[in-house]
Amino acid sequence: MAEVILEGKNLTKHYPVTKGLLQRTIGWVRAIDGISFTIEQGKTLSLVGESGAGKTTTARMILLLEKLTSGTILFEGEDLSTFSASEIKSKYRPNVQSVQQNPWSSMNPRMRVRDIVGEPLAVNTKMTKQQIRSRVEEILDQVGLRADHANLYPHEFSGGQRQRIAVARALALSPNLVVLDEPVSALDVSIRAQIMNLLKDLQDQHNLSYLVIAHNLATVRYMSHSVAIMYLGEIVEYGEAEELFLNPLHPYTKALISASILTLPEDETDEIQQIILSGEMPSPLNPPPGCRFHTRCSEASAQCSEIVPEMRQVKANHQVKCHHHV
């Protein structure tokens, strides 16, 4: 088994809801409610779910942009809460980098590509200007851009090229883990394949670990080794990618797969059962009691609205949080 690079244990993030002049707390938005996962060296874990499921909050907690309400993050086996501020800066930050969704807003339009990609090096290392210069050119080459692109500004590039620049910036410090927040969803269909192939090639070359945030299941199947399906702040199903896609257990996972699978109009005879969920995701301010999915679930029984299901290990590589799979 591959070495575990990052582990989240029972992560929780609650935001207070305040009211009045004294900012009295009148409730909590339970954005993340006790999720656990592991990311292995050289592998990709994907978090999948609809908007409001808590995917981006999870990514922000790992990037230390949000404080945990409770839970622990272990980085290479060490508890992050025991790190001092300088250890975070020297040991954690350079090893965990990110690529944002929208390459039109994730770069400073007044900086040249050379400075955008070189900035993490200037901040985190003692490299000389000359060394930074050659490192930037080396990375631009790796992501499929030319060295002379370094002197241009972001607006001179297309969306796909900009996303390559964002990848170059994330890789500048040779990190172990890259958090990719919807890395291709802002791009055009024919450009997506280019970027996904690039990310996979870079992973193989540098033994990189990825945490991918995505809502498109087909993208996830192509990119990931393991997958966590999130719903309303919880992981409802978690497992190895192939196992999970070939043998989905949770009704929500089944509905998501049915919504994204390619079916031709004539295929109706093939008995592909299209599952259409009723209603919408409830508010995390006041999540339903019992199983959080029971309000939209076609298989819900009496216990689902009362008892909170436990995460159960169904197979060595497959966990599910549902009363119907014991």
């Binding site: 024919s190 087909a218 031709l264 969920l277």
Partner: protein, 322 residues
């Protein structure tokens, strides 16, 4: 043979900008039959939306212009209509749903108010009758408790519900042609599935013909009867949905379908189309896809390919196809 609702012939739409003429739509022809869902697929900037706006004659003025072509809606050329006559057509015979319900609804009016606007304009009903029409339009889009929801403002509704309101406005005067421009792109996967199922229902009960503009082949496969694939201002291939998926002829269609990852199989490596579409300011003389095409020949770079019918209305613009 079913009746043709819309016939577009050799439509050219250009934008005149400081840097020159941008040929956004450059000789597009297609037709939509009664009760048919016609998909217009392509990447950003291929001219899908401009085609849709041209059909409504809602191009931004003065830069956008329909240079030539004919748009025959219900038997008459709407390019010959005056602005006033066009206002009677819009909303009544042809209407449009835009991509983002957040920007297509007015935030300071209740949804009942916004629905009543086109009903009042086109049907000239008394106020109490208008209310009934508003409620029936909301009911058509399966919005729960329409009597109370029509007093809501857009911000009080979820994204999926808002998009249903936009649909209700478009359908309120029962047009016979509806243009839906990426109506599901801003929605989540399960809400998207709901919306698509709802539209198939509406199409069956009202017999409206739909032009469905999208970049998502998955949505095309679920919804459309026939598809036109657009690239750099031209339709490069038109065929029934199953033909497009099972027997695509144009290299761009093939490449586009192959570059989309599939959920029902494990792809080892995705096919990727290198390069980018050409600039619409400076189009190549020959086939627009020539620079990115794997099967390119000398002829492709010099001369534009003609549209060839390979059987049963399957049209392809490619020199390779004989």
């Amino acid at each position: 043979m079913s009746k043709t609702v819309l016939q577009v012939e050799d439509l050219h739409t250009s934008f005149y900008t400081r840097s020159g003429e941008v040929k956004a739509v450059d000789g597009v022809s297609f037709h939509v039959d009664e009760k048919e869902i016609f998909g217009l697929v392509g990447e950003s900037a291929c001219g899908k939306t401009v085609t849709g706006l041209s059909l409504l004659r809602l191009l931004p003025e003065p830069s956008g212009n329909i240079v030539k072509g004919r748009i025959i809606l219900n038997g008459r050329d709407i390019l010959g209509l005056s602005k006033k006559e066009m206002r009677n057509v819009r909303g009544k015979e042809i209407s449009m749903i835009l991509q983002d319900p957040m920007t297509s609804l007015n935030p300071v009016y209740t949804i009942g108010n916004q629905l009543a606007e086109s009903i009042k304009l086109h049907q000239g009903l008394a106020d109490d009758k208008i209310n009934d029409e508003v409620i029936s339009a909301l009911r058509l889009l399966k919005i729960p408790a329409p009597e109370s929801r029509l007093r809501d403002y857009p911000f009080q509704m979820s994204g999926g519900m808002r998009q249903r309101v936009v649909g209700a406005i478009a359908m309120s005067c029962r047009p016979n042609l509806l243009i839906a421009d990426e109506p599901t792109t801003a929605l989540d996967a399960t809400i998207q599935a709901q919306y698509i199922a709802l539209f198939q229902d509406i199409q069956k009960t009202t017999d409206v013909a739909i032009i469905f503009i999208t970049h998502d082949f998955g949505v095309v496969a679920k919804m459309c009867h026939r598809v036109g694939v657009m690239y750099a201002g031209k339709i490069v291939e038109t065929a029934t949905t199953s033909k497009i998926f099972k027997d695509p002829r144009h290299p761009y269609t093939v490449a586009l379908i192959n570059s989309v990852p599939r959920l029902d199989r494990k792809d080892e490596r995705l096919f990727s189309i290198e390069g980018q579409p050409p600039s619409l300011l400076n189009l190549p003389p020959g086939c627009r896809f020539a620079a990115r095409c794997d099967h390119v020949m000398d002829k492709c770079r010099e001369e534009q390919p003609p549209e060839i019918d390979v059987g049963d209305g399957h049209l392809v613009s490619c020199w390779k196809v004989k």
